[in-house]
């Protein structure tokens, strides 16, 4: 065997290690969660119990909390990122470059610092300023999703922190989509008298829709699995949040909170939660890749 073949095989082994690792992650989580699935069956997904005394557990509050915080984060992050990308692609390069660099640095700050900032700065601010304003000044307390109770913690605040975390990612990718739209299309739009905003909305958005959706899904995937930023702020009660200001928990926060002290059935339950989160984010990632590949294919066709 020549050294070339040897090298080739060595490289191949390393490359194939990656899918193997991915399979191993699935397999080990599935293996360790069998006890939970056997005990509760699929009703585990929709059960709201969480009682360590009687060993009854359900995943529903965690799942609802995860989806709620992610949803709130995306409601804020998507339009904000789109506008940011719109602005960044529109101004001359020498002034957009430092702003883009700033956004990239924002993406580099560790999530635990976002969590701290949320806990010590944003939570008191929400509690004393924003939430009283929404509930009392705007009289929205009878609105079904909002409710009159608030204490600063909860899904809404967590969603805002998540939004701040994912905006840099989404807007950087959206900026690329804006940049990659063929100049000819944009110039034609300008030529027939479209304003910049109309060009962005009617030309770039239509042309790069798949890329934009891919960018949104990238952010979605990050928000879904984020642990630390949410853990500090969500309130960590094992119940379904009463409204958007209500405390709750997410899958990742439940794992982080209970895992170290758990054993027996509870540990298995936490592994089951882990595999639910894994499947959720796996699905999101596959959709992301689908949209990004479609976007790439479209650019290739040109």
């Amino acid at each position: 065997m020549t050294i070339d073949t040897l090298f080739r095989r060595l490289c191949f082994t390393c490359a194939i290690l990656l899918p193997v690792l991915l399979l191993c992650i699935f397999a080990s989580l599935a293996f360790h969660s069998t006890q939970a699935w056997k005990t509760f069956g699929f009703s585990f997904l929709f059960s709201t119990d969480w009682d360590p005394m009687t060993d009854k557990y359900g995943a529903f509050p965690s799942i609802v909390g995860t989806l709620a915080t992610t949803g709130i984060a995306m409601i804020f992050a998507v339009p904000l990122s789109f506008m940011t990308a719109f602005y960044l692609s529109d101004i001359p390069r020498h002034s957009s470059a430092p702003l883009s660099a700033g956004l990239d640095l924002l993406a580099a700050i560790p999530s635990v610092i976002y969590g701290m900032w949320g806990l010590f700065v944003l939570v008191p601010f929400m509690q004393t300023k924003i939430q009283p304003f929404i509930v009392h000044t705007l009289h929205l307390k009878n609105c079904p999703l909002i409710g009159g109770e608030y204490n600063g913690f909860g899904c809404f605040t967590a969603g805002i922190v998540l939004a701040l975390m994912v905006i840099p990612f989404i807007s950087a990718m959206m900026r690329d989509v804006f940049m990659m739209t063929p100049p000819l299309l944009k110039e034609s739009a300008m030529g027939i008298g479209c304003t910049r905003w109309e060009t962005a909305r009617d030309i770039v958005m239509r042309y790069g829709l798949r890329g934009l959706v891919g960018a949104v899904f990238i952010g979605l995937g990050r928000a879904l699995g984020e642990t630390m930023a949410v853990l500090f702020i969500i309130g960590n009660t094992m119940t379904i949040p009463k409204g958007i200001f209500g405390s709750g928990t997410t899958i990742a926060a439940t794992l982080a909170n209970h895992f170290a002290e758990a054993d027996g059935l509870l540990k298995s339950v936490l592994f089951a939660l882990g595999i639910i989160l894994l499947i959720l984010s796996f699905t999101v990632q596959i959709l992301t890749q689908y949209f990004l590949n479609r976007a790439k294919a479209k650019r290739g066709e040109r």
Binding site: Y87, L103, F120, V121, A200, L277
Partner: protein, 283 residues
């Protein structure tokens, strides 16, 4: 198409601009807010003893973060050491041998998917396959968890950087009679060097702030890292978590901000270094 009045369109255009400027200000303002808060609350805590003393239980004077810093360094360095050769070789396979093959595409797809998997899941995985069989938490388990996060990142950047190297360079070196190994390592990898370094530094910076995977693997301790392979190992992110959430004391909150400041400075410095390398490569 419906006609719209020019006045309305002009107003809409102005509004879009104003709103987008406002939004950019808000997101950059939030960043400055976070950095500023960390500076304001962290700076008063910083002192010589804070960065040279190990952390101590509450109430003991001259507590610091040196052991956590040391632990973070050990854990991330070991993660890099384990993952680097594997990921770079894997990337070489994708770029040099598996180009356009079905298996290559499948592996690339897996890598992209794996980059988006929540970091806490890798902690769970390592807990299941390393902490449970060995019977104890350890800094090494933390390294393994971070290594899994680094793996797809380094693999994909290696591939991307090698693909930037023109094929004529490969053909030229093969025509000179080099074998594939030498052509790949000495010509292709060398000309992609700064790109590779960028990728590695980026992955390093990314995982050095990761907290979630360390919660169930490295855990946390107040001692120096003598038990890197056999016992809980101190590290900065978990120290911050402990001090912020599980402590009622103001002094420990303040120490948490100090630790956060140190971590943020290191990570932002790493990122600036990456940018420096990256612009070097372009020039």
């Amino acid at each position: 198409m419906k006609r719209r009045s020019p006045v309305f369109r002009k107003i809409e255009e102005r509004a879009a601009r104003v709103v987008s400027i406002l939004i950019l200000t808000v997101s950059l303002g939030a960043m400055l807010g976070i950095i500023g808060t960390t500076l304001i609350r962290g700076l008063p805590v910083l002192s010589w003893s804070f960065i040279t003393q190990p952390s101590k239980p509450y109430g003991i004077e001259s507590s610091g973060i040196a052991n956590a810093f040391q632990g973070t360094l050990y854990i991330t360095a070991m993660a890099t050491l384990i993952t680097l050769p594997l990921a770079v070789l894997g990337g070489i396979w994708l770029a040099e041998f598996g180009r356009n093959s079905r298996l290559g595409n499948a592996i690339r797809f897996c890598a992209n998917v794996m980059m988006g998997i929540p970091s806490i899941i890798t902690g769970l995985f390592i807990y299941a396959v390393w902490v449970v069989p060995t019977g104890h938490f350890s800094g090494f388990a933390g390294s393994l968890a971070l290594g899994i996060i680094m793996f797809p990142i380094v693999l994909r950047t290696t591939e991307d950087m090698l693909l930037l190297v023109p094929d004529s360079l490969r053909e030229a070196s093969l025509a000179l009679g080099m074998n594939r190994v030498r052509a790949t390592l000495q010509v292709v990898c060398r000309s992609a060097k700064s790109g590779l370094i960028t990728g590695i530094l980026m992955a390093f910076a990314r995982v050095s702030g990761e907290t979630a995977p360390l919660l169930f693997t490295a855990l946390w301790s107040n001692s120096w890292c003598g038990h890197y392979f056999s016992g809980p190992t101190a590290n900065l992110p978990v120290l911050i978590t402990e001090y912020t959430t599980n402590s009622p004391y103001e002094a420990q909150h303040a120490a948490g901000w100090g630790a956060a400041l140190v971590m943020m400075i290191v990570i932002l410095a790493l990122n600036l270094l990456v940018r420096y390398f990256f612009t070097e490569r372009k020039a």
